[in-house]
């Protein structure tokens, strides 16, 4: 049975797998000459399939590979959560340090008096 909507397919695939993890298999057919990708999940009782020729489905397809293999291995899915949190660690600390030290460098020779607001005048 073909399912045309990706989200429905993904949900059905994961449910089908969860229902019978011992016997369910997941098959990917790729016909490169036609640019056609067919995904199939079956537990020998019911079959669900998804067919696409859109490159935009690739990202979701890779994600499905990931999800289904997690289920097959019965792996605790911690990896994905960790990745997203560690990626967004900002490193802007260095940037303000440089900008603050930048204007200070020319005033070093003219001693600390320059920091009281005479910068503008001296540049003239």
């Amino acid at each position: 049975m073909y399912i045309s909507n990706w989200d429905e397919f993904q949900k059905a695939a994961e449910e089908l797998y969860a229902g019978c993890p011992e016997n369910t298999r997941y098959v990917t057919h790729f016909r490169r000459t036609d640019g056609e990708l067919i995904l199939k999940v079956t537990d020998d009782r019911s079959v669900i399939k998804f067919k696409t020729n859109q490159a935009s489905d690739l990202k979701r397809f890779i994600q499905l590979n990931h999800n289904l293999m997690v289920q097959m291995q019965n792996k605790p899915s911690v990896g994905t959560e960790k990745k997203t949190s560690t990626e967004e660690v900002p490193v802007p600390v260095v940037v303000p340090a440089i900008t603050s030290s930048g204007p200070q460098i020319p005033t070093v020779a003219t001693a600390s008096a320059g920091s009281k607001g005479k910068k503008g005048k001296k540049r003239k």
Binding site: F30, T33, G35, Q54, A55, N65, M69, M72, Q73
Partner: protein, 123 residues
């Protein structure tokens, strides 16, 4: 059927996709390495695949068991297979997705309508 380690498998899979440029279909199958399947492998190969020990443990709580995953690929009459243990999961997935991205290039790309908006002139 050639049995390979996960990374060598993805390399061979890439070759399959390369060959399928001319004709044919590449099929990739995934399933869990259940204790029954592991027992058969042990009988034939005289050794358990990596991570197989974890799945063979006898516990009452099956939800804590970790299984290797069996992956097979077929192109015409050529067949390869591998078993991916839990430890190798990340490496396999990244290698596999790289292969997918590289070779599934004949899929249609969305036609992007180029926005004719010109940059607003800011005085």
């Amino acid at each position: 059927m050639r049995d390979l380690d996960p990374i060598a498998f993805t390399v061979e899979l890439g070759k399959f996709y390369e060959l399928s440029k001319e004709s044919g279909t590449v099929a990739v199958t995934m399933k869990r390495m259940t204790p029954e399947r592991l027992a058969i492998t042990l009988k034939v190969k005289k050794q358990l695949p990596k991570g197989g020990q974890d799945a063979m443990k006898k516990t009452d709580d099956a939800s804590t068991l970790r299984y290797p995953c069996l992956v097979r690929a077929t192109y015409k009459t050529k067949k390869i297979s591998t078993t991916v243990s839990v430890d190798e999961f990340d490496r396999f997935q990244s290698a596999y997705s790289t292969v997918i991205r590289a070779y599934m290039d004949t899929l249609k790309k969305k036609e992007r309508v180029k926005k004719a908006k010109k940059a607003k002139t800011s005085a």
